[in-house]
C-alpha cells in the first residue's frame, strides 16, 4: 500500500509543526519502517525549539546514546529568549488590555497607531514584539499562546507582509490546537487575502512583474490547499466547503498545475458529500461531474485508487473494474491521515454511487448480481436496494419483483418541455447582465474601477484588512514558515 501513500508529496507543502501529526499517523501504520519514520520525526523536531520533544525522540531512536549537547544549549537559549521576548511583548499587552484602550480602538489602523503613540508611547517596534514573541511561542509548541499574540499583532500592525505572515502563523496555531471553527474563519480570511493580491496585480497595467507575483500566488494557493486539508477534514461542514473552495477555478487550476495529488481528497470529499450535494447549491452540486472531467484530464500525471474508482464508474462504466478499485481505495482511505475517519462514509457513499449509476442504465436488475457487485450478501443486498430506492426518490419508477428476484426500473423519457425550460433558463439573467454592462459603459465608468470598488467593498464588509493594490505582492507563504522557524 505504500505506493499509494502521498504523505511525502504533502509534507513539503506543510509547516514543520503541521507535519508532526501526519508523521505520527504514519508511525502508527506499518507502511514504512518504524525507524525511518522516527528518524524523520527527530529531524523535524530538531529544527524547532521543542527541546523536550526532541530529546524524547532522540531517546527512542538511540536508547543507549547521550543526547547531543547542543540540545541542552538550545534549551537554555530558548528559555532566555522567551523571557526577553515576553517582557518586550508584555509592555504592549499591558496597554492593550486596559479597558479604556480597548474602547478607544477603532477600525482605522493608522488612527489606532497614532492613539497608542500619543497616549502610551507605543510605536510600531513595540507592536512587532508581539509578532516576534508569538512566533517564538509557536516554535516551542505553545500554539494557543502564539495564536493570541499573533491575533493582537494583526489587529494593530499595518505591515502587509508581516500581517500575512501572522495570518499563516495564526492559522497553523488554530489547526494545531484544534480550534476548527476559528481555523475555518482564519482560512477564509487568509484565502481572501491571497486572492485579493491577484486583483491588485491583474488590474496593474504593467504586465511584467505579474509573472513573479502570479508565481508567488500560485505557491500561496498550493500551501493554502494543503493546510486547508486539516481544517476541512476535521470541521463538521468541512467537506462541502472543501468542494466549494477546491472547485473554484483558481484553486482547481492550482491543483492541476502544481499538486494533482490533491485530487484524491477532492474526489473523496465529493463522494462523501453525495447526499448533501443534492441539497447544496452552486459548485458542489455538479462536483462529481466536474471532478471526473478533471481526473480524466490529469490522469497522465496522477492517479490513485480513489480517482480510478470514479473514472471506472463514470468514464468507462465498467462496474467490475470500479468494484475492484473501490476495494483498493478502501484500504487507501484506511491509511490516509485525512481520510481515515471517513472510511465508512466513503465506502457507503461509493456503493450508492455504483448502484445509482447501475440503476440508471439498467431496466431489469438481478438482485443477486447487484448484491455481488456491492460485496453484500443477498439479504443485505435486498435491504440495501430498498433503502436505495427510497433514497433516490424513484419509488414510482422502481419495483422489486421478488418472485423473479429482479428489480424493474421504469424510467419514462424526460418530457420535452423540460428540455425547453432548461435551455431558456439563464437567458433572462444573461440579458440583464448585458444591459447592465451597456449602461455601465454608457455612464463612462470603466469596468476596472467597478471591480475594484466591489473588491474593496467586500473587504470592508468583512472587517478584514483592506488589501489595497499598492502592497508588494510577492511575499510567498514560505516567509511565514521561515520566520516561524527562525
Amino acid at each position: 500500500m505504500a505506493e499509494y501513500d502521498i504523505s511525502q508529496k504533502l509534507i513539503p507543502y506543510m509547516d514543520r509543526h503541521l507535519a508532526f501529526p501526519v508523521l505520527a499517523h504514519l508511525s502508527e501504520l506499518s507502511l514504512f519502517p518504524e525507524e525511518d519514520v522516527r528518524f524523520a520525526q527527530y529531524e523535524l523536531a530538531r529544527g524547532t525549539n521543542m527541546v523536550d520533544f526532541t530529546l524524547d525522540l532522540f531517546q527512542q531512536l538511540y536508547p543507549d546514546q547521550d543526547p547531543p549537547p547542543e540540545l541542552a544549549q538550545k534549551r537554555d537559549d530558548a528559555v532566555q529568549t522567551n523571557q526577553r521576548l515576553q517582557t518586550e511583548a508584555q509592555v504592549v499587552l499591558d496597554v492593550i488590555e486596559r479597558e479604556e484602550v480597548a474602547q478607544a480602538l477603532r477600525q482605522d489602523k493608522m488612527q489606532n497607531l497614532n492613539y497608542l503613540k500619543e497616549h502610551y508611547n507605543l510605536t510600531l517596534e513595540h507592536i512587532s514584539a508581539l509578532y516576534t514573541f508569538g512566533q517564538f511561542q509557536y516554535t516551542y509548541g505553545n500554539y494557543s499562546g502564539a495564536a493570541d499574540y499573533l491575533y493582537h499583532f494583526r489587529i494593530l500592525s499595518t505591515d502587509a507582509d508581516l500581517n500575512l505572515s501572522a495570518h499563516w502563523g495564526k492559522l497553523a496555531c488554530d489547526i494545531l490546537s484544534g480550534n476548527w471553527d476559528t481555523a475555518l474563519e482564519e482560512l477564509n480570511s487568509l484565502r481572501e487575502a491571497i486572492d485579493s493580491r491577484t486583483n491588485s496585480t491583474t488590474s496593474n497595467p504593467i504586465p511584467t512583474p505579474s509573472s513573479e507575483s502570479a508565481l508567488a500566488q500560485l505557491q500561496s494557493r498550493t500551501w493554502l490547499l494543503h493546510w486547508s486539508l486539516f481544517v476541512y477534514f476535521n470541521h463538521a461542514q468541512g467537506r462541502t466547503l472543501l468542494l466549494e473552495t477546491f472547485l473554484s477555478p483558481a484553486y482547481l487550476n492550482t491543483i492541476q498545475t502544481s499538486c494533482p495529488w490533491i485530487l484524491r481528497y477532492l474526489a473523496a470529499a465529493a463522494i462523501v458529500t453525495r447526499k448533501a450535494a443534492s441539497a447544496a447549491s452552486g459548485r458542489a452540486k455538479h462536483a462529481l461531474k466536474e471532478i471526473v472531467r478533471i481526473i480524466q484530464m490529469e490522469e497522465y500525471q496522477y492517479k490513485d485508487p480513489v480517482t480510478q474508482f470514479l473514472r471506472e464508474l463514470y468514464v468507462e462504466f465498467d462496474f467490475e473494474a470500479a468494484q475492484k478499485s473501490l476495494a483498493i481505495a478502501e484500504r487507501v482511505t484506511e491509511n490516509d491521515f485525512f481520510l481515515v475517519d471517513l472510511k465508512q462514509d466513503f465506502l457507503d457513499n461509493a456503493r450508492y454511487l455504483i448502484s445509482e449509476a447501475y440503476c440508471r442504465i439498467h431496466q431489469k436488475i438481478d438482485i443477486d448480481d447487484l448484491s455481488a457487485r456491492l460485496n453484500l450478501s443477498q439479504e443485505e443486498g435486498e435491504k440495501w436496494i430498498v433503502n436505495l430506492i427510497r433514497d433516490m426518490r424513484m419509488g414510482a419508477d422502481a419495483k422489486i419483483d421478488l418472485e423473479k428476484n429482479v428489480i424493474h426500473i421504469n424510467r419514462p423519457p424526460a418530457p420535452l418541455y423540460q428540455t425547453v425550460i432548461e435551455k431558456t433558463r439563464g437567458l433572462a439573467f444573461r440579458t440583464q447582465a448585458l444591459g447592465a454592462a451597456m449602461s455601465r459603459r454608457a455612464a463612462g465608468e470603466t469596468i476596472e474601477t467597478g471591480e475594484e470598488g466591489k473588491a474593496k467593498g467586500k473587504g470592508r464588509r468583512t472587517g478584514g484588512p483592506p488589501q489595497t493594490s499598492s502592497g508588494p505582492a510577492n511575499a510567498p507563504p514560505t516567509a511565514a514558515v521561515v520566520t516561524a522557524e527562525a
Binding site: S211, A214, N253, T257, I365, A437, I447, E448
Partner: protein, 886 residues
C-alpha cells in the same frame, strides 16, 4: 579622333568610367562630346597626376582602384613608351600574385582620381566656354560641384580647380553680358546661362574667403593644396617576403627610372603591417559603392589577413572580411556556397580568437571614438579591454539566414540539396562556438539570440539526427558551450534546457518562439499531455495573431505537430479538434509555409509574393502535409460519422458537422460510379461510407491499406489503434442508425458483429445511455438493450428549435458586446483577469492579417476549454507557468 572614341568606348566598359557616367547622368546630349573632350587631358594627366600626388598614392594604394586604368593600358602601351615601361615594371611585381591576369594595373588613390577628374572637368568647362556652349558648361559645372561636395565630405580642403573654374565662369559670364547683351542666343542656351549665374553666385558666396586667397595668388594656393593632400612621404616600402626578390627589384628599378621622387612599392598589391589599417579603411570606404569589385575586395582582405600580426589586427580584418563575404550580387538568389563556407570558417576563426583572448571584445555599441588607423592593445586601453565596433551575433544571424536562403533556392529533390544540407553541421558548430563565446563574455542579449538559432536547428529533428549534429568536431573544453548533448544525455532534454534558459530572457519574442519549439519537441516525442498543457498555459492561441508572421508559421507548425502527436497517442478527438482549424482553411501548405498558395483570384503583388517566398520553410523541415491530411480526415471520420448518425433532422446535421470533412463526404456521395480507391482521400471516403453502413471490417481494411501510414514512426501500433477505434465507432454508428427500428437488441449479437468483448460493448452502450445520447436501458437479465425512443411531435420540435435560436441570439449579443467593449476586462464572470485585454486584441487583430483572422477564431473556440481556466489561475504568464511545470 577615332582613337578617342575607342578609348571612350573602352572606358565605358570599365567600372571607373561608368561611375562618372552615373554622376553625369543628368546630361544627355552633351555627354558624348564631353567625354571625348575629357579624354585628351585625361591621358595627358596620367603623367602629371602620377607626379603630383604620387607620394600620397603610394600609401593609399589599393588594388581595387587600379581597375580604373585598365582601359587606358592598351592604347597607352602602344602610344607612349614611357608609361608602358612603367607599367611593365609595376606589373612585374604584381604578376606573381595573380598570374592569370594579363592586364596591368596602375594604381592611384581615390584622391588622385578625384583630382584628375576635377582637372578634366575644369578643362572641359574652359572648352565649352570658349565656344559659348552654356548647356555643356552648366552640366560640367554641376559635375564639378558634386565632386567638390564629396571632397569636402571626406574633409579634404577645397581644391583649387574648383575655385579656378568658378573664377573663369564668372569672368565669362560678365564678359558675355558686357560684350553683346542683345546677341541672340538660342533658348536652351540662354536658360542654361541664367542658371549658371545663379549657381555661380551661390558658390561664390559659399567659398568667399577661399576665393579671396585664391585670387591673390592662385599658384600658391594650388601648391598649398597639393601639399596638404600629400601625407608625409613614406620611405620605399619593403616588398613582401613572399615575393621573389628579383621581381621586386625589377619593380623597384623600373620605378626609380621614371619617378625618382616617389617610393612606390609593388603597385598597392603589397600589404604590410604598417599599412594594414589604411588598407582596411580604404576597403571600407569602397564598400557598398556601385562599382566596387567585391571579389577583388575579398581578395585584398584575404591578403590582409595573412599579413595581420596582432590580435587586434586580425580581429579587425576578420570583421571586415566576413562582412565583405556577405556582399554578394543582389541579383543572385542566394550566397554562393564557397563564399558561405569561407565566411563560416572565418567566423569560426574570429569567435575562437575572441574566446581565447578575453581582453578583446567586439561590441555593437562602443561609446567612445577611436582612431581606426591606430593599433590598439589591452595595455593601452581603459580597463584593459579593447572594444572594437562590430557584431558577432549579426554575423551568426546572417550566416544562418544565408544557409536557409540557399536551401530555399536549391531543388530539394536533387543531390545538391543534400550536399548543402551537410553544411548544417559546420553551421551548427559555429553557432555552438559563438554560444560559448557569449556565455564567457556574459552577453545575455546575444546569447539568447544565438541559443534561439541553435534551438531552431534542432527542435524539429528526431533524436538520431540531433545526436549526429551534436557530435561537433574539434570543439574542446575551452570552447564548449555549457549546454550540449553530453551534459543533457537526451536530445529532448537538450531542447528542454535550451528552452529553459531562453525563458529567462527579457525578449518576449524569443520566449514565445522558444515555447513553441519546446511544445513542438514534446509533441514530436509523443508527449502529448505536456505539450498540450504548455500550449494552453502559454495562451498563445489567444494572442498569436498579433505576432509576426514567422512566429505564426511556427505556431501553425506546432499545432499540426500536436495534432499528429495526439493521433499517434490514440487521442482521436483531440487530434481532430487540433487539426480542424488548420485544415478548415484549405490552405495548409501556405499556413505551414511549405508552398505558395495558388490563388484563384491572384491579389498578391510581386513584393508580397517575394516576402512569402522568403518565409518558406526549407524542404527538410517540412511536415508531411499529406500525412497530416490523412490523419485529419481519419480523425474526422471517427468523430463525425457517429455524430452524423446520431442527428435526426437534416437541419441539425447541416449545422453540427465540420465543414471540410462534410464537403468531401458529400462530394463522394454524389459520385455516380465509385472506382477502387486510388489516393488517400478516396480510401478515407469509402471507408466512411462503409462505416455508415456498419461494415466496419471493410472500413478497417480500407484505412489500413493507406500507404502513407508507413511514414509514421510507429505505423503498426497506429494501425492497431485505428482498427480498435473503427470497431467502437462502428458500434456507435450502428446503434444510432438502427435504434429507431428495434425495440430490443441483444448485446451478444452486437459483440459478435463488431468482434468486441461483451464487456466493452456493455461499457460503450452504458456510456451512451448515461450521456443521454441513446434513449435506452439495459436489461441485465436478458442481456439486451431496450430502446424507448419517443418521436417528438411537430409542436415540440418547433419549441425546441425556437429555444435554441433564442439562446443563440443571446450568445450573439454577448459576443457583440464583448467586441464593443473591447479593452475592458470582461464584463461577464467568465473573463475575470487577463482575458479581457486578449479578447480586445483579438477583435482588432482579426481584421488585419489573413493569418490573424483565422487564428482569431481559433482562440475563440478553444479559449473556452482549459485555457480559459488557466488564465485565471496563472495570469497568462509563460514564464511563470513554465517555471511551475518544469
Amino acid at each position: 579622333m577615332s582613337r578617342f572614341f575607342k578609348t571612350a568606348a573602352d572606358t565605358d566598359s570599365s567600372s571607373e568610367e561608368s561611375d562618372e557616367e552615373l554622376l553625369s547622368s543628368g546630361d544627355d546630349t552633351p555627354a558624348k562630346p564631353a567625354a571625348v573632350q575629357q579624354k585628351t587631358p585625361m591621358s595627358q594627366f596620367l603623367k602629371t597626376a602620377g607626379d603630383s600626388s604620387s607620394s600620397s598614392s603610394s600609401s593609399d594604394s589599393d588594388s581595387d582602384d587600379s581597375d580604373s586604368d585598365d582601359s587606358d593600358d592598351k592604347p597607352a602601351a602602344v602610344q607612349k613608351p614611357r608609361p608602358s615601361t612603367f607599367l611593365v615594371g609595376g606589373g612585374g611585381g604584381r604578376d606573381d600574385d595573380d598570374s592569370s591576369e594579363d592586364e596591368r594595373k596602375v594604381v592611384k588613390s581615390a584622391k588622385d582620381k578625384r583630382i584628375e577628374e576635377m582637372q578634366a572637368i575644369g578643362k572641359s568647362i574652359d572648352n565649352a566656354l570658349r565656344i559659348g556652349d552654356w548647356v555643356a558648361t552648366s552640366n560640367d559645372f554641376d559635375k564639378l560641384a558634386r565632386l567638390v561636395e564629396r571632397q569636402t565630405n571626406v574633409s579634404e580642403p577645397v581644391p583649387p580647380y574648383w575655385l579656378r573654374a568658378l573664377v573663369t565662369v564668372e569672368n565669362a559670364l560678365t564678359a558675355t553680358k558686357e560684350k553683346d547683351p542683345k546677341k541672340k542666343v538660342n533658348a536652351s542656351n540662354s536658360r542654361a546661362q541664367n542658371g549658371m549665374k545663379q549657381k555661380v553666385k551661390k558658390a561664390t558666396k559659399e567659398h568667399e574667403a577661399l576665393l579671396k586667397t585664391y585670387n591673390e595668388d592662385p599658384e600658391k594656393f594650388e601648391r598649398d593644396y597639393i601639399q596638404a593632400l600629400a601625407p608625409p612621404p613614406v620611405a620605399p616600402r619593403e616588398v613582401r617576403p613572399a615575393q621573389p626578390a628579383g621581381a621586386a627589384a625589377a619593380g623597384q628599378a623600373g620605378e626609380t627610372d621614371e619617378f625618382t621622387t616617389v617610393g612606390r612599392g609593388g603597385k598597392g598589391v603589397q600589404h604590410t603591417v604598417e599599412t594594414l589599417f589604411k588598407d582596411l579603411a580604404q576597403v571600407n570606404e569602397n564598400r557598398g559603392k556601385k562599382n566596387t569589385d567585391r571579389v577583388e575586395q575579398v581578395r585584398t582582405l584575404e591578403k590582409l589577413l595573412t599579413v595581420a600580426v596582432t590580435t587586434y589586427q586580425r580581429i579587425r580584418v576578420l570583421l571586415a572580411l566576413i562582412s565583405a563575404r556577405f556582399d554578394y550580387n543582389p541579383a543572385a538568389s542566394h550566397m554562393p556556397n564557397d563564399a558561405w563556407l569561407a565566411a563560416q570558417k572565418e567566423l569560426d576563426q574570429l569567435v575562437k580568437i575572441l574566446i581565447h583572448e578575453p581582453t578583446y571584445s567586439v561590441e555593437e555599441e562602443v561609446n567612445f571614438e577611436y582612431d581606426e588607423l591606430l593599433e590598439r592593445s589591452p595595455t593601452t586601453e581603459e580597463g584593459g579591454i579593447v572594444r572594437i565596433r562590430g557584431s558577432v551575433i549579426s554575423f551568426v544571424d546572417r550566416l544562418d539566414d544565408e544557409f536557409t536562403r540557399s536551401l530555399q533556392n536549391i531543388d530539394p529533390h536533387g543531390t545538391e540539396y543534400i550536399e548543402r544540407l551537410r553544411d548544417e553541421k559546420v553551421l551548427y558548430k559555429t553557432i555552438c562556438l559563438s554560444q560559448s563565446y557569449f556565455e564567457r563574455a556574459s552577453r545575455d542579449e546575444a546569447l539568447a539570440r544565438v541559443l534561439m538559432r541553435r534551438l531552431e536547428h534542432i527542435y524539429y529533428k528526431p533524436d538520431a539526427v540531433v545526436e549526429a549534429l551534436e557530435q561537433i568536431p574539434d570543439i574542446d573544453e575551452t570552447t564548449r558551450p555549457s549546454l550540449s548533448l553530453q551534459t543533457c544525455e537526451k536530445a529532448q532534454s537538450l531542447v528542454h534546457s535550451i528552452c529553459i534558459s531562453l525563458y529567462k530572457t527579457s525578449n518576449s519574442l524569443l520566449r514565445t518562439r522558444a515555447m513553441l519549439c519546446h511544445i513542438y519537441s514534446h509533441a514530436l516525442h509523443n508527449d502529448f499531455y505536456t505539450a498540450r498543457d504548455m500550449m494552453l498555459m502559454s495562451h498563445l492561441q489567444e494572442n498569436v495573431h498579433s505576432a509576426d508572421v514567422g512566429t505564426q508559421i511556427l505556431f501553425n507548425r506546432t499545432v499540426v505537430q500536436l495534432g499528429l502527436c495526439a493521433f499517434r497517442c490514440g487521442l482521436i478527438k483531440e487530434s481532430q479538434s487540433t487539426l480542424q482549424d488548420i485544415f478548415a482553411t484549405q490552405r495548409v501548405k501556405e499556413l505551414l509555409a511549405q508552398g505558395l498558395h495558388q490563388q484563384r483570384y491572384s491579389t498578391l503583388t510581386p513584393e508580397q509574393e517575394k516576402a512569402e517566398r522568403i518565409r518558406q520553410m526549407p524542404f527538410h523541415m517540412h511536415i508531411n502535409t499529406e500525412l497530416a491530411e490523412a490523419v485529419f480526415l481519419v480523425a474526422s471520420m471517427l468523430v463525425e460519422i457517429p455524430l452524423l448518425a446520431s442527428l435526426d433532422t437534416e437541419e441539425a446535421r447541416r449545422k453540427a458537422v465540420s465543414k471540410s470533412f462534410r464537403r468531401l463526404l458529400d462530394h463522394a456521395n454524389r459520385q455516380v460510379f465509385n472506382g477502387p480507391p486510388e489516393n488517400t482521400r478516396d480510401h478515407i471516403m469509402q471507408a466512411s461510407k462503409a462505416l455508415q453502413d456498419g461494415e466496419w471490417q471493410r472500413a478497417r481494411d480500407l484505412i489500413q491499406s493507406i500507404a502513407i501510414w508507413n511514414l509514421m514512426p510507429e505505423s503498426k501500433q497506429v494501425k492497431e489503434m485505428l482498427a480498435k477505434r473503427i470497431q467502437e465507432e462502428g458500434l456507435r454508428t450502428y446503434l444510432f442508425t438502427n435504434a429507431p427500428y428495434y425495440t430490443t437488441l441483444s448485446l451478444e449479437l452486437l459483440s459478435r458483429i463488431f468482434s468486441l468483448s461483451l464487456r466493452s460493448v456493455t461499457s460503450i452502450v452504458s456510456k451512451m445511455i448515461w450521456n443521454e445520447e441513446l434513449a435506452a436501458s439495459l436489461d441485465q437479465a436478458g442481456g439486451v438493450v431496450v430502446f424507448h425512443r419517443v418521436e417528438p411531435n411537430k409542436l415540440q420540435q418547433l419549441a425546441l428549435s425556437l429555444s435554441e435560436k433564442v439562446a443563440q441570439l443571446v450568445e450573439q449579443n454577448e459576443k457583440a458586446l464583448d467586441v464593443k467593449l473591447g479593452g475592458g476586462s470582461g464584463w461577464t464572470d467568465r473573463g475575470d483577469g487577463k482575458g479581457g485585454d486578449k479578447r480586445g486584441g483579438e477583435a482588432t487583430g482579426g481584421g488585419g492579417e489573413r493569418r490573424g483572422a483565422r487564428t482569431g477564431t481559433r482562440g475563440g473556440v478553444r479559449g473556452r476549454g482549459r485555457g480559459a481556466r488557466f488564465a485565471q489561475g496563472l495570469g497568462g504568464q509563460i514564464g511563470g507557468a513554465q517555471a511551475v511545470r518544469t
